[in-house]
């Protein structure tokens, strides 16, 4: 079905929904690279004007990637909750935008709505939103998940402590880990990106993290971000796996490029659940996503990168994850060219994830070949803090010496918590106070000369 709009006698015609969505997307280099972006500023707004009038029902009848060809499409269609959708079933995309922003549409309403929304509807409405709308709406959402602590409560901000080391050196990792804990980081997860996917190395890291967590009774969870097949193998061998991690995308072919499919994710989900390691809750999955991964794998089917990204959230939510984060600026300038594009994409991803019911965090980050710097990261970080982002990364000095990119530091998290009055996960905050790291007011105490955590590395 084609869509059209006339501006000053010029007729813009968009042959199908996916073309319309792509043309309506705010400018980013990845869509230009894919040949999908609007050719002119006017065409982009024409597409947005057209999109505003598209009935939401169309998204249930016009699959962007055919049902027969793509298991993510099948997942989206087959799990759509018609009852949850009913209250907005007569809306257009534009009407959804206005309704979402209305005062009466509160947290409870949005929580009830989530299963009735498809990722394409959410992507569509996001294309009509300004940055402040993306922030205001995400702030209205509250998605709470639990494993050994409680994440996502309003007024709280968690961090993933990411103590990576280029050769997976245990003492090098422990040094960054202790540094982060003494700065109050690590409530979302203590999570290492291993330099190798070698199962023996991954197992050693898992055991090291688990031993530290046990010894100091830290109310958090640990994860080594290896491929899900490695994690499955290690679960079988009895390794201490809290969370099963996997990078995912929004099309079957993207997931195939990551070496996964929905059946495999289900297997990992069930295996992690079977360990019953969560003390407060059973959210056992950790997913990472990022705009551009589908195009990078040649697996985008003519969809713009932001719509592909939103579809990845449908994959994520099927497995009730503890954590999902968009690694927004990691992919490079051919997908998100500069600070402006990274900021926009970060806010879009956070909004779309939250509206779909995900515990959404963002890796506020950039590479050295992107036109971005720490000032851009401060902008996005602050906006995400206002938007109620579930978690950010905590990396020593914002410099990941293994992955070779810049993200957010332990200090950045302190800045955000202090400036906006945000607290760590309640159980973790109690631990920080008990350890003499934070005071009652949630402020970092002066650095201790000797802390028992330090014996972990130097002892």
């Amino acid at each position: 079905m084609s869509y059209r709009h006339t501006i000053r006698q010029r007729v813009y015609e968009f042959p199908d929904l996916k073309t319309l969505l792509a043309k309506a997307s705010p400018l980013r280099s990845g869509d230009v690279l894919a040949g999908l972006a609007a050719e002119t500023y006017e065409e982009r707004v024409a597409a947005q004007l057209t999109l505003a009038d598209v009935p939401l029902r169309n998204f249930l009848h016009e699959a962007l990637i055919p049902y027969e060809q793509d298991e993510v499409t099948r997942l989206i269609m087959d799990t759509h909750d018609a009852a949850a959708f009913a209250p907005i079933s007569h809306f257009t995309v534009g009407q959804l935008r206005d309704w979402l922003l209305a005062e009466a549409t509160d947290t409870a309403v949005l929580q009830g709505l989530a299963p009735g929304l498809t990722p394409e509807m959410v992507a569509a409405v996001s294309k009509l939103l300004r940055n402040q709308d993306l922030i205001a709406l995400a702030r209205k959402c509250e998605v709470v998940t639990q494993f050994r602590n409680t994440l996502g409560l309003r007024g709280h901000l968690a961090t993933r402590l990411q103590p990576n080391h280029p050769t997976d050196d245990a003492r090098g990792i422990a040094a960054s880990l202790v540094d982060g804990l003494l700065y109050g980081s690590g409530d979302a997860v203590l999570g290492i990106n291993p330099a190798t996917d070698n199962p023996r190395v991954v197992r050693n890291l898992l055991e090291m993290l688990d031993a530290v967590r046990e010894q100091y009774q830290i109310p958090t969870q640990t994860c080594v971000l290896s491929h899900v097949t490695t994690t499955l193998q290690l679960i079988e061998q009895g390794a201490p796996v809290d969370l099963a991690f996997q990078s995912i995308g929004g099309t079957e072919a993207t997931n195939a490029s990551f070496g996964v499919h929905l059946g495999l994710l289900q297997e990992a989900y069930e295996a992690a659940l079977s360990l019953h390691r969560g003390t407060l809750g059973q959210n056992v999955m950790y997913f990472e996503t990022g705009q551009g991964s589908a195009l990078s794998a040649g697996a985008h089917h003519g969809l713009d990168q932001q719509t592909c990204e939103a579809r990845a959230y449908a994959v994520a939510r099927h497995f009730k994850p503890l954590l999902v984060n968009s690694v927004v600026g990691f992919i490079g300038p051919e997908y998100l060219y500069d600070g402006k594009q990274i900021v926009r994409a970060g806010l879009e991803d956070h909004f779309c994830g939250k509206l779909l019911g995900l515990p959404m965090g963002v890796d506020v980050c950039y590479t050295n070949h992107a036109e971005a710097d720490q000032d851009d990261m401060d902008t996005l970080l602050t906006m995400l803090g206002v938007a109620g982002c579930t978690f950010i990364m905590g990396i020593p000095g914002a410099d990941d010496i293994m992955l070779g990119y810049q993200s957010t530091s332990f200090h950045d998290a302190l800045y955000l918590r202090h400036t906006l009055g945000l607290r760590p996960a309640p159980e973790f905050e109690a631990w920080l106070q008990q350890q003499g790291i934070f005071n009652e007011g949630g402020q970092l105490l002066p650095a201790p000369e000797k802390h028992r955590l330090l014996t972990q590395v130097s002892g």
Partner: protein
């Protein structure tokens, strides 16, 4: 370090666990003022980022390189990709993988009938890396290849190049194997890291799984002699088995 800013009076001290830095190059025990990093750390970070940014925008010292490459007594080509400038190069990797029409014609007009190994020197994401490390590496690698009686194709210096540009160059030069030395994406503490990628049976359209890579070639990383030795052994094996990529990696054990 001479380029570190002079410490300010009352500069906030690093954290008491500064000693842990012997275990990692990560920026730990930074200390703080309020919730912010001390100024010396802020500026040290900014300087590292400046080095990385300058590396991305650095240019090949083509005149010097072309002059010094003459010592290998091989014909030398100077080519460029279809990316017209850095901004376009960064946003359109496809253009960086394709030879400019003039370069393509020049190569085809004067290419040798056949050769074993074609060597390509490319800017990639850090011309600084190539400017600094390509010649010292080639001075160790080229003699070893020649002693092993491999026939070398003309040398090629390529501007605004991505790794896959070497496929097209390899085809044009009728080379069995093409090796491209190329500046890697600069890290915050490694603005000059050189990568070496080789491909057996190059042809346009190949993906990374058809190649092997030796990376982080620089004095603070993989030394010139170690890199040259590793590359020589891998290339020898690749030519003998007539393959490169994942299979070679799995079977030689030379790469992690």
């Amino acid at each position: 370090m001479s380029d570190t800013p002079t410490p300010l009076p009352e500069n906030p001290a690093p954290d008491p666990w500064l000693g842990l830095r012997r275990y990692t190059a990560a920026r730990i025990a930074l200390g703080r003022t309020g919730t912010s990093v001390p100024l010396r750390e802020l500026l040290a970070f900014r300087l590292a980022h400046a080095h990385a940014r300058d590396a991305v925008y650095s240019l090949l010292e083509t005149e010097r390189l072309l002059g010094e490459l003459e010592e290998f007594k091989l014909p030398i080509y100077h080519v460029r990709s279809q990316a017209e400038n850095r901004s376009q190069y960064l946003q359109r990797p496809d253009l960086g993988r394709t030879l400019h029409e003039d370069s393509s014609r020049a190569l085809q007009d004067s290419a040798p009938a056949s050769s074993d190994v074609a060597l390509v020197l490319a800017d990639g994401l850090s011309a600084t890396a190539l400017n600094q490390h390509a010649l010292p590496l080639l001075r160790l690698l080229v003699p070893r290849l020649q002693q092993a009686s491999f026939q070398l194709a003309p040398l090629t210096v390529a501007e605004q190049a991505r790794v896959a540009l070497s496929d097209e160059i390899g085809v044009a030069l009728h080379a069995q194997l093409v090796l491209i030395l190329i500046g890697e994406r600069p890290g915050l503490s490694s603005p000059d890291s050189l990568g070496a990628y080789f491909t057996y049976g190059p042809r346009p359209g190949l993906t990374d799984d058809a190649r092997n890579c030796v990376s982080n070639i620089r004095p603070e990383g993989l030394s010139y002699p170690a890199a040259a030795e590793k590359l020589f052994l891998l290339i020898q094996e690749s030519l003998r088995r007539q393959l490169s990529g994942v299979k070679l990696k799995d079977e030689t054990g030379l790469l992690e």
